[in-house]
């Protein structure tokens, strides 16, 4: 019994379009119809480019009919977190300060997707400037979790995760600075992969924290994530922090044998705040991995408890710097008032254009960089960061992967944490340290709570070793049964 087009894996869609079993136009239309039927409830999309998508799909079909091969993602409908700059398509980073901005250039990852034949459906909702773990700080509208519309999808790539989970696209791109791909993937029951820092170009990725940001794929299967990663990864001369290596064939790591694979569980991450149902699903997942041939043991990451403090000094500091360019001079919104001075223009534009979470982090970051405070705050945090990275290096010399829950809880309710910033920040406690150490990490669905909310297993690996992550995740996935989809009633308001 075949699944509807909108729930087919990207790999399968690609094959069907290539073999001309189905046309790219048909696939695209099916997804546009799905979006029209569902997204009103969900709020995953910020901008839908139906015309552009259908036009591109038509070109793909034409190319295939003429016998040429338009790329490994030909005809696959993909959507992009609104933090990725897209020529001719509005890009807002979830903020009012970029309302109406139409970029004159494409991010490198967007160019690569286009070049691989992907059909770009549009831009996805997110926390403003990627600062958040629930998508609630989007200046436009919240995004809801397809599994329970009263709950958050996670963040900051909330739209990227929700859209994939609900079948609005075959795959999406998000960004991850402290967990923003992995955590929403976990809360929405999909696969989310953050590559090694430097693996994927940041050119055209609206910067939040430059030394932490990475672009990565979200998809319903590990194979789909691997395919997307292969297309977007690899050296980019326009990014000075891009690793000088071509994109590996990640798909080759799929379906490998796990015998001999060692997995570490950090004793310092056995935290009291973890939901017992989440903990038990993760334990069960690790038991499955053991059945598949892996072995699990305890490791130690003595400084990992400081990840939150370290992250919340470094990321806001870099963000306060990266967001200084939003000043109403060259693009975006300006708070116009007749006769105002330049200073007033700056302050009102930024005061009105940024939401409270962004302002909070800009303030924090500005403070941490002030002369007189720099040594004690920012510089100190960068040193502790080095210690955390060293801990991971030592642990990953003993084991191949480090495992934990992706998130301490399943999806929480909208509004539940938004008035307590520190509580919100704790959502990222398991994911942050991966970014600090620059390591690749993946979240795979590993069950549900009693209330039917998805739980995610996180695996973290050595630098540039996405292959081992993919190998372990795909084996686990194969042993976990078919992909689960959110209750259709949530999405279409009635019978499927």
């Amino acid at each position: 019994m075949s699944a509807p087009l909108h729930y087919l894996p990207a790999v399968q869609i690609a094959r069907m379009v290539r073999e001309r079993t189905v046309s790219a136009r048909e696939v695209t239309q099916a997804h546009l119809d799905r979006i029209a039927a569902v997204d009103g409830r969900l709020g995953a999309f910020r901008h839908i480019d139906a015309e552009g998508a259908l036009r591109r799909a038509g070109e793909i079909d034409g190319a295939l009919a003429a016998g040429s091969s338009p790329g490994p993602l030909a005809g696959v409908p993909v959507a992009l977190k609104d933090i990725l700059v897209t020529r001719g398509m509005p890009t807002t980073a979830g903020s009012r300060i970029l309302e109406g901005w139409i970029p004159p250039y494409d991010a490198t990852v967007v160019e690569r997707l286009r070049g691989a034949g992907a059909v770009l459906l549009g831009k996805l909702n997110m926390d403003e400037f990627a600062m958040g773990s629930s998508n609630e700080s989007s200046a436009y509208h919240p995004c809801r979790n397809p599994w329970d519309l009263d709950r958050v999808p996670g963040g900051s790539s909330g739209g990227s995760a929700a859209a994939v989970a609900a079948g609005l696209c075959a795959g999406s791109l998000g960004t991850d600075t402290g967990g923003s791909i992995r955590q929403p993937a976990s809360l929405c029951g999909v696969v989310g992969l953050k590559p090694t820092y430097g693996r994927v170009s940041r050119y055209g990725v609206i910067a939040f924290a430059s030394s932490l940001d990475q672009v990565g794929p979200l998809a319903r299967t590990v194979a789909d994530a691997a395919l997307l990663l292969e297309v977007i990864a690899g050296f980019d001369p326009r990014d000075s922090t891009s690793i000088d290596e071509a994109s590996p064939r990640f798909a080759a790591a799929l379906g490998g044998d796990l015998r001999g694979l060692t997995i570490g569980r950090p004793r310092e991450l056995e935290l009291p705040g973890v939901d017992p149902e989440v903990a038990s699903e993760v334990d069960r997942a690790l038991a499955t991995l053991v059945d598949l041939g892996a072995s699990v043991r305890e490791v130690s990451l003595p400084h990992v408890q400081h990840s939150l403090a370290t992250y919340y000094l470094i990321a806001p500091a870099e963000a306060s710097s990266n967001l200084a360019r939003y000043d109403g001079v060259r693009y975006g919104a300006r708070a116009a008032a007749p006769g105002q001075s330049l200073l007033e223009m700056y302050c009102r534009t930024r005061g009105a254009g940024f939401g409270p979470e962004v302002k909070r982090r800009i303030m924090l970051g500005t403070f941490a960089l002030r002369s007189g405070y720099y040594d004690a705050y920012y510089l100190k945090a960068q040193k502790v960061r080095a210690l955390i990275a060293r801990d991971y290096q030592r642990a990953l010399a003993e084991v191949d992967l480090i495992a934990s829950p992706t998130s301490p809880t399943a999806a929480f309710r909208l509004g539940e944490r938004s008035s307590d910033p520190l509580a919100m920040y704790l959502a990222d406690v398991f994911t942050l340290s991966c970014n600090l150490a620059g390591l690749p990490g993946i979240s795979v669905p590993c069950g549900q709570t009693g209330a039917g909310l998805p739980v995610g297993l996180q695996l973290c690996g050595r630098p540039l070793d996405e292959a081992t992550l993919i190998r372990a995740a795909s084996a686990f996935e194969a042993a976990s049964g078919p992909v689960r989809h959110p209750p259709e009633a949530n999405l279409t308001g009635g019978a499927a």
């Binding site: 932490l212 000094l313 080095a386 910033p421």
Partner: protein, 106 residues
């Protein structure tokens, strides 16, 4: 360290060119103080001899050849400006007395 006062908050907001409503400033001084208190724990960690980590994977600067590449067409460069005068960006007057910055090279 002492908590951030409202005055501290307003100073930082000025540095960051953020207009804050009065209630925002009050709220922020509380929030930022409690967040910073949480950061205090870092002070206790021994980082003697540890090099700050500025890049996750060790990297050295790559250089590009001195080759000219096409610029953006002027209309694309200036087209998104909230205010313009022909092909120039237009901004409000820079007031000297007591408020504006000292500016870049003339």
């Amino acid at each position: 360290m002492a908590a951030l006062t409202r005055k501290d908050v307003l100073e930082i907001a000025h540095l960051a060119r953020l207009h804050l409503e009065p209630d925002e400033a009050d709220r922020l001084s509380g929030e930022l103080s409690s967040i910073l208190e949480h950061m205090e724990q870092l002070g206790a960690i021994d980082t003697e001899g540890v090099e700050p980590m500025t890049h996750a994977v060790p990297m050295r600067l790559r250089l590009r050849p001195d080759e000219v590449e096409p610029s953006l067409p002027v209309e694309e460069a200036v087209g998104a400006a909230p205010d313009r005068a022909g092909d120039l960006f237009q901004v409000p007057h820079i007031i000297r007395s007591g408020t504006a910055g000292s500016g870049s090279g003339s």
